[in-house]
C-alpha cells in the first residue's frame, strides 16, 4: 500500500515536472531576477553591488515617475470603470433576456474580438479614430463637424476606447456567471415585497452580482496597469504608462536596476489594489452560500 502510494506520488511529480520546470524558469526566475536587480546599482546595461535602496527612493520621490505611475493608475482605473460599465448591461441582457438555449451562442459572439490579434485591432482603432479616419470622415460627411476631430490625438480617450473594447469579453463573462447564479425567485420576492423592477435590481440583483463585478474589475485592472502596446501605438508615445517607462529605463537608458525598481513598485501597487478588492469580494461572498 505504502509502496503503491509512493509510486503514485512519483508518477504525480513526474507529471507536474515539465510545467513546474517551465514555471520556475520562466516565471519565478525572472521575477527573482527583477527583485534582486531592483536593489542593485545599475550602469551601462549591467548591475553590480553594493545593494542599495536608492532606486526605490528615486522612483518614489521623482516627479516624473510619480506622474507616470499616477497616470497609469488613472488610465487603468478609467479603462476598468468604462469596461465594467459597458460589460454589465451586456452580461445582464444575456443572462436575463436571452432564451436559455441561445445563451451559449451569445457568449460565443462576445468572444469574436479575440479572433483577431490585439495588434491588428489596435491598428484598426488607429484607422477608426485617427485623423480623417472613419469617425472623422463620417461626421464630416454627415455635416456634424467641418474639421477632423482626430480623436486619436487625445491620447487617454483613445487608449480607453481601445482597451475597453479589448477587455470587454473578460469583464462580461464573470459578471454573466454571477448573474446566472441569482435565483430568479429572489427578484419576484423583491417585487412581491413592494419594490419596483429598478429598486429590486438595486437591492437584490446588483449586490448579488458584486462578486462577478469585482472579478471583472481585477481581470481588467491588473493587465491594463502594465499595458505597453496601447500607449505606444495608440497614444503615440505621448502618454507613456508604467510599462513604457520600464522600457525606457531598461532599454534606452540601459539602467536595469531602475527599470526593475519601477517594475517592483508597479507590481506592489497592483498587488495592494487587488488585495483590497479581494477583501471587498470576501465581504460579498461571505453573505452568499
Amino acid at each position: 500500500m505504502a509502496q503503491s502510494q509512493s509510486s503514485e506520488a512519483k508518477t504525480g511529480y513526474m507529471l507536474v515536472a515539465p510545467p513546474l520546470l517551465y514555471a520556475v524558469l520562466l516565471l519565478a526566475a525572472p521575477l527573482a531576477t527583477v527583485l534582486i536587480y531592483s536593489v542593485l546599482t545599475g550602469e551601462n546595461g549591467a548591475v553590480s553591488l553594493p545593494m542599495t535602496t536608492e532606486n526605490f527612493t528615486t522612483v518614489w520621490t521623482g516627479r516624473v515617475y510619480q506622474a507616470i505611475m499616477a497616470r497609469s493608475l488613472y488610465v487603468s482605473m478609467l479603462v476598468t470603470l468604462t469596461t465594467v460599465l459597458l460589460a454589465y448591461p451586456i452580461a445582464y441582457f444575456v443572462s436575463f433576456h436571452v432564451r436559455p438555449e441561445r445563451k451559449a451562442l451569445w457568449l460565443f459572439l462576445i468572444t469574436i474580438p479575440f479572433w483577431t490579434s490585439y495588434i491588428i485591432r489596435v491598428a484598426l482603432w488607429r484607422t477608426i479614430l485617427g485623423y480623417n479616419g472613419i469617425i472623422d470622415s463620417t461626421l464630416i460627411g454627415l455635416g456634424v463637424t467641418s474639421e477632423p476631430l482626430n480623436i486619436l490625438s487625445y491620447g487617454v480617450v483613445s487608449i480607453i476606447i481601445t482597451l475597453a473594447h479589448a477587455y470587454a469579453p473578460f469583464a462580461v463573462l464573470p459578471i454573466f456567471v454571477s448573474l446566472e447564479k441569482v435565483d430568479r425567485a429572489l427578484l419576484e420576492a423583491g417585487q412581491d415585497l413592494g419594490e419596483s423592477r429598478w429598486t429590486t435590481f438595486l437591492r437584490v440583483t446588483l449586490p448579488l452580482s458584486m462578486p462577478g463585478v469585482i472579478a471583472a474589475v481585477l481581470i481588467v485592472f491588473i493587465p491594463t496597469v502594465g499595458d505597453y502596446v496601447t500607449p505606444e501605438l495608440i497614444g503615440g508615445g505621448k502618454v507613456p504608462m508604467i510599462a513604457n517607462m520600464i522600457e525606457i529605463e531598461m532599454l534606452k537608458k540601459r539602467d536595469q536596476a531602475m527599470g526593475s525598481a519601477i517594475a517592483v513598485t508597479a507590481m506592489s501597487i497592483v498587488a495592494i489594489v487587488s488585495i483590497l478588492f479581494v477583501l471587498l469580494n470576501k465581504r460579498f461572498i461571505g453573505g452568499t452560500k
Binding site: A185, E188, D192, G194, S196, R203, V204, L208, G287
Partner: protein, 366 residues
C-alpha cells in the same frame, strides 16, 4: 363546515383564462375566496394551480377574464402594489442579508422610524418562533427556519392575502406535519386570507377551510374538505383525494331526484340526489371509501346492509389493516380498512367474510 359562508368575498375570479402561446394553462376559472379563509389550490403538477396563484400575486398576467381582490380589479396592477404577499416554494430568502434584514425588506417605504421598524421585525420573529435569530446570516438557517423567515417577511407587511406556493414540500415528513399545525394556528392568529398551493391532498384536507381541486387548468370542484372527501363530484376528484373503490353499476330508474341502481356485488340501492353528482356521460360506477366498509367478525351483526366477501389480500399498516375483498362472489374487488383494536385478529387471505356497508356512503359517477 359553514365557516366560509357568511364571510365577505376577498378574491373573485371571473372566467379567467391564461395562454402560454398555444398552451391553455387556465381554462375559465370562476369562484370566490372569502376573507379570513384558509383556501387551498389542490391538484397534480401541471394542473395550473401555481399559475393561478401567480396571477393573484401579479407575477403572471391573464389572457382574459377578471381577478378582483378586495373589490378592486387587478388588471394592470403590478405585483409590488398588490395587497398580497407570497411565501415562495424555495423561500427566496435574500442570501446577502441577515434574518432581520430579510424580514424588514418590505419596510423600506414604511414611514415609521428605524427603531419602530426594528421592533416590528423583532415582534414578527417572535411570532414565528425565531426570537434572537435576527443577526444570523441567511445561510445559517435550516429549511424550517428559512420558511419561518419567509413567513415573517411576508406577514410583516400585513397583506390582505398571503399566498403560499407549496411551502412545506421541501421539509421532511415530521417537520411538515408540525408546520401544518403551526400554519393553521398562525392563520387563526393573524386572520389573514391564506391561499395555499399544494399537490398533497392530505395537507389540503388538514389545513383548509375550503379547497379548489384543479385538473388541466380548470377547477373540478370547490368545496370544504368534508364535502370533497365524502361527496366528490367526479371520479377524477374521488381518485385524487384519498382512496376510493369503484364498483360498476347499472341505472334502473330515476324518479324525483332518487336514483335506483344495481351495483355489481352489492345489489339494488336507491341513492339520494346528493349522492349523484351531475352526469358526465361516463360508464356508471359507484364509489365507496375503504373506511365505510366493515368486516364482520364471527358473531358480529349489523344494522347496515351486508354482502359476502372473500379476502384476496391483506396489507398490515400497524394501526390499520387493509383488506382487498371480492364482493358477493363476483370479480368486483374493493379495499376496506379496519382499525387494529386489541382483541381483533388479522384475518388471512382466502377467509370468507361478511362485509357491512351503508347505502348513504355511496356516490354515483356516471
Amino acid at each position: 363546515m359553514t365557516f366560509s359562508e357568511d364571510k365577505p368575498v376577498m378574491i373573485e375570479f371571473r372566467d379567467v383564462h391564461k395562454y402560454y402561446g398555444d398552451y391553455h394553462a387556465l381554462r375559465g376559472i370562476d369562484g370566490t375566496i372569502k376573507a379570513g379563509e384558509f383556501f387551498s389550490l389542490l391538484g397534480p403538477s401541471g394542473c395550473g394551480k401555481t399559475t393561478l396563484l401567480r396571477t393573484i400575486a401579479g407575477f403572471e398576467g391573464i389572457s382574459s377574464g377578471v381577478i378582483m381582490i378586495d373589490d378592486r380589479n387587478m388588471a394592470g396592477v403590478p405585483a409590488n402594489v398588490r395587497p398580497t404577499n407570497m411565501v415562495f416554494q424555495s423561500y427566496a430568502i435574500f442570501p446577502h442579508m441577515s434574518v432581520a434584514e430579510n424580514v424588514g425588506f418590505g419596510l423600506r417605504r414604511d414611514p415609521r422610524t428605524k427603531a419602530e421598524k426594528a421592533a416590528a421585525v423583532e415582534e414578527m420573529l417572535a411570532m414565528v418562533g425565531l426570537t434572537g435569530y435576527g443577526d444570523r446570516a441567511a445561510h445559517e438557517l435550516s429549511g424550517g427556519q428559512r420558511q419561518r423567515v419567509a413567513l415573517a417577511r411576508a406577514l410583516i407587511l400585513k397583506p390582505k392575502v398571503l399566498l403560499l406556493d407549496e411551502p412545506l414540500s421541501a421539509l421532511d415528513k415530521k417537520m411538515r406535519e408540525h408546520m401544518q399545525v403551526e400554519l393553521i394556528k398562525l392563520q387563526r392568529q393573524v386572520g389573514i386570507t391564506f391561499i395555499l398551493v399544494t399537490h398533497d391532498q392530505e395537507e389540503a384536507l388538514v389545513m383548509s377551510d375550503r379547497i379548489a381541486v384543479m385538473f388541466e387548468g380548470g377547477i373540478a370542484q370547490l368545496a370544504d374538505p368534508e364535502t370533497l372527501y365524502r361527496r366528490p363530484n367526479s371520479k377524477q376528484v374521488a381518485e385524487f383525494i384519498g382512496t376510493m373503490n369503484f364498483v360498476p353499476a347499472t341505472i334502473l330508474s330515476e324518479v324525483g331526484g332518487k336514483v335506483e341502481i344495481e351495483a355489481k356485488g352489492l345489489g339494488k340501492v336507491t341513492l339520494d340526489e346528493t349522492q349523484s353528482p351531475p352526469p358526465r356521460g361516463e360508464e356508471p360506477v359507484v364509489g365507496l371509501r375503504p373506511e365505510t366498509l366493515t368486516l364482520l367478525f364471527p358473531g358480529q351483526t349489523t344494522s347496515e346492509r351486508k354482502v359476502d366477501g372473500l379476502i384476496d389480500e391483506v396489507i398490515y399498516f400497524g394501526d390499520m389493516t387493509y383488506y382487498d375483498v371480492y364482493l358477493g362472489g363476483t370479480d368486483v374487488e374493493v379495499r376496506l380498512s379496519m382499525r387494529n383494536v386489541p382483541g381483533r385478529p388479522i384475518l388471512d387471505v382466502g377467509t370468507r367474510v361478511e362485509v357491512a356497508w351503508s347505502p348513504e356512503a355511496l356516490v354515483l359517477f356516471r
